[in-house]
């Protein structure tokens, strides 16, 4: 009995010690809790009205560690009219790190880092587009440390965002923010002129060839090998081409020729191999494509030899004629090729029919002889 009491006593002491130990940590923790209590100057941010008190004022400028100025003024009316503002989205839904005033200090060192960090918040609502752009060349370059590569907010201004493709020519302006020289070339091209000056929807804007969010690097073998098919999407569309009297045989004749054949087979059989034969863009240009009758066109007759000489430096005046200019041979165009084809269209069946008849006569005689011989 005494032993039992002793046991109970030691257990009770243990429990008591544990309780005391716990209580002492509580007491020690108490002052720390008080330390993080908001000072009267630290105010939780609850709604846009609070944000606007500072950020609607002009000249709200913060200097980043890089020395660049981060402008913090928002045009409140502009925001209210935007895709986001008109639907009632509040500032802190995107600016999720801003929970109180004074704000947490920025980790970004420069404007590009601010844009990149802030664009992460787009994912919450625009996940499919966000995921797609993770596969883009822009993301690839960012991963390689190029901070200039575009993030969401570079193309879609989050505060004053409007549909980015209305009117269609706006696409060019958007890409031109970073790709201004290419945009300048494009605007002077047959495609760009039609889009920019006349809002022509038959011509491609940047995104029609390059894609939208998962924009691939156009210098890869995969993109280059596929590029003739991109051109063909419109250029083999009879209805669209009829409006401008443009030849729709371009892709078929290209693929039938040595150059196009090689590129087509590379695309299908060795997609990692850079094309070593010309693509549409190598002769016609890329962003600066001119109509084939333009004096500046790379493929107008007087410029064609120079274009061939890019790859065939020794080519002479007759050489460009070796290329049939995307036309199927006919008696009036590329007549020599047409007549060689015709010659063989006659010679081959004539020869084959002749020898087949001869062979058949021999077979026939042997069968007749065999039957007669058998009967005997």
């Amino acid at each position: 009995m005494a032993r039992r009491l002793t046991r109970f006593g030691s257990f009770a002491v243990l429990v008591l010690l544990l309780i005391l130990g716990w209580a002492s940590t509580r007491v020690a923790a108490a002052p720390r809790v008080q330390e993080t209590t908001p000072t009267p100057e630290s105010i939780p941010i609850k709604g846009d009205r609070q944000c606007k008190e500072c950020h609607s004022a002009p000249d709200q400028i913060m200097t980043l560690p890089s020395g660049e100025s981060l402008y913090l003024t928002i045009d409140v009316e502009g925001y209210a009219a935007s895709a986001h503002g008109s639907q009632g989205y509040t500032c802190i839904q995107c600016h999720t790190t801003i929970t109180e005033y004074p704000h947490v200090s920025l980790t970004a060192q420069n404007l590009r880092q601010v844009a990149a960090e802030q664009s992460q918040s787009c994912k919450a609502c625009h996940a499919p587009q966000f995921e797609k752009q993770l596969d883009s060349a822009h993301q690839k370059f960012r991963d390689e440390g190029n901070e200039n590569a575009a993030v969401c907010s570079d193309c879609h201004n989050p505060h004053y965002t409007q549909p980015p493709n209305e009117p269609r020519s706006k696409i060019i302006t958007t890409c031109a923010r970073c790709h201004s020289r290419i945009a300048a070339e494009y605007r002077a091209s047959v495609h760009g002129e039609a889009l920019v000056s006349a809002e022509n929807t038959d011509v491609p804007a940047c995104v029609d060839c390059h894609g939208v969010h998962n924009i691939p690097d156009p210098r890869t073998a995969e993109f280059l090998l596929r590029s003739p098919q991109i051109c063909a999407e419109c250029h083999s569309d009879a209805e669209r081409m009829a409006k401008y009297d443009v030849n729709t045989e371009v892709i078929d004749t290209y693929v039938a020729d040595f150059h196009g054949t090689t590129v087509t087979l590379f695309e299908q059989q060795s997609p990692d191999q850079l094309p070593n034969k010309p693509l549409c863009i190598d002769c016609h240009g890329v962003h600066n494509i001119k109509v084939v009758t333009d004096a500046e066109s790379t493929v107008i007759k007087q410029n064609l030899l120079a274009t061939c000489q890019q790859c065939h430096p020794d080519a002479t005046a007759n050489f460009p004629e070796a290329w049939l200019s995307h036309y199927t041979p006919s008696p009036t165009r590329n007549a020599l090729v047409y007549f060689v084809d015709l010659f063989y269209q006659i010679l081959i069946p004539a020869t084959l029919v002749g020898i087949t008849v001869f062979v058949a006569s021999d077979v026939g005689r042997r069968i007749v002889g065999w039957i007669k011989g058998g009967r005997k």
Partner: protein, 381 residues
């Protein structure tokens, strides 16, 4: 049945034939898929051969073999005809036309007897000369495709696509003719093994080459060889043929190496302008500094009152006991007492706070007007 056999093809001729089988078959297997490049079967074959570039290389290699074999064939035919005075048994003539017609009529039952053939019958001659014609066409058109720049420096450029058309069509004709004519005549009708064994037996000779057999028996098939004269002819032939063969081999070498630009160049795919060229100034998601809006008057109503409403009231509807939503409440102050000391901006708490950083920061212009207003006694209107 006599076991006696007669030589039909020498070992050299049989080796030539094997080389021809190898190169012709290789050319056909690598070439026809290139003619029908868009067909599924063609692309499968090209893939199996290691891709289009490899297929073309194999094709070129087989073409070189065929050309070398052609040079050898010319030299050996020359030797037999010029040095050994062998009969020109392969030369076609009207006789062969008659023989062909008679054979056809015999097959149809209009003639009782099969025409009798010499060393080479009309069908064999047809096939031999078809191969000669085909090789000439293929070599010429092949040269044009292999060396398009050289070709276009002499001929119109259109010769190159025309050559491509002829090359492919001629190939199709050759392959189909071989399958129909050659396979029937020497494999199906009767498997003639002489191209491999080199010999025909008496029975085969009687059946297929009775006139040659008769000549052989009569010992008139070949001219008697006069040994000293033969030696003399050899002494002349070897150097002349050697020089000609060397020239032809040089021709083959030039054919193959004349130009590489069409095969090896990589297009100069250089972007003419740099891809990254941002606009200056680059548009940003937030507004740039703008000129200040219309000046505020140093009165509460309709001026400073509105500023307080916009910038302060969200918090100072109540925080710190301060209410800035009305003139009266503002003048009353908050927990720290009055914030506006009329006439004394420096001791007005609102100015003290605003001179430091404070949420709801007034702009410089607004603060200036506020100070002005307090100095003027903070009038309501």
């Amino acid at each position: 049945m006599s076991a006696k056999t007669y030589e039909r093809f020498s070992l050299y001729q049989r080796v030539e034939h094997l080389i021809l089988i190898g190169s012709f078959t290789t050319l056909a297997i690598t070439g026809l898929p290139q003619k029908y490049i868009l067909a599924g079967w063609a692309q499968t074959m090209i893939a199996l051969m290691g891709g289009i570039e490899m297929t073309r290389q194999i094709h070129h290699f087989a073409a070189i073999v065929l050309m070398l074999e052609t040079v050898y064939h010319l030299a050996s035919v020359g030797y037999r005809v010029i040095v050994r005075h062998v009969r020109l048994s392969m030369l076609p003539g009207l006789r062969d036309v008659r023989e062909a017609i008679d054979s056809f009529l015999f097959n149809l039952g209009f003639k009782k007897e099969m025409p009798q053939s010499g060393r080479y019958n009309y069908g064999e001659k047809f096939e031999y000369w078809a191969v000669v014609w085909g090789t000439v066409v293929m070599v010429i058109t092949g040269f044009m495709m292999w060396n398009p720049i050289a070709t276009a420096s002499i001929f119109p450029g259109q010769f190159i696509p025309a050559a491509k058309s002829a090359h492919g069509n001629e190939a199709l004709l050759a392959v189909l003719s071989i399958i129909i004519w050659h396979f029937y005549n020497v494999h199906l009708k009767h498997f003639n093994k002489s191209m491999f064994t080199g010999r025909l037996d008496e029975h085969e000779m009687i059946k297929e080459h009775p006139l040659e057999l008769a000549d052989l028996k009569a010992r008139v098939a070949s001219a008697p060889v006069d040994s000293p004269a033969l030696k003399k002819r050899q002494q002349v032939y070897y150097p002349v043929a050697g020089v000609l063969a060397a020239l032809l081999l040089l021709g083959v070498f030039r054919f193959v190496t004349f130009e590489q630009t069409a095969l090896e160049t990589v297009p100069l795919r250089v972007e003419p302008v740099s891809a990254f060229a941002p606009l200056t100034p680059t548009p940003l998601p937030t507004s740039r500094p703008t000129p200040t809006s219309a000046a505020i008057q140093a009165v509460w109503a309709g001026n400073l009152g509105n500023v307080m409403e916009a910038k302060c009231v969200d918090c100072h509807g109540s925080i710190a006991g301060l209410d800035l939503s009305s003139y009266q409440a503002a003048m009353k102050g908050g927990n720290s007492g009055p914030i506006i000391a009329p006439g004394d901006p420096d001791n007005s708490l609102i100015v003290v706070k605003q001179n430091k950083k404070h949420p709801g920061q007034l702009s410089e212009e607004e603060l200036k007007v506020l100070i002005e207003w307090i100095a003027a006694g903070a009038p309501e209107e």
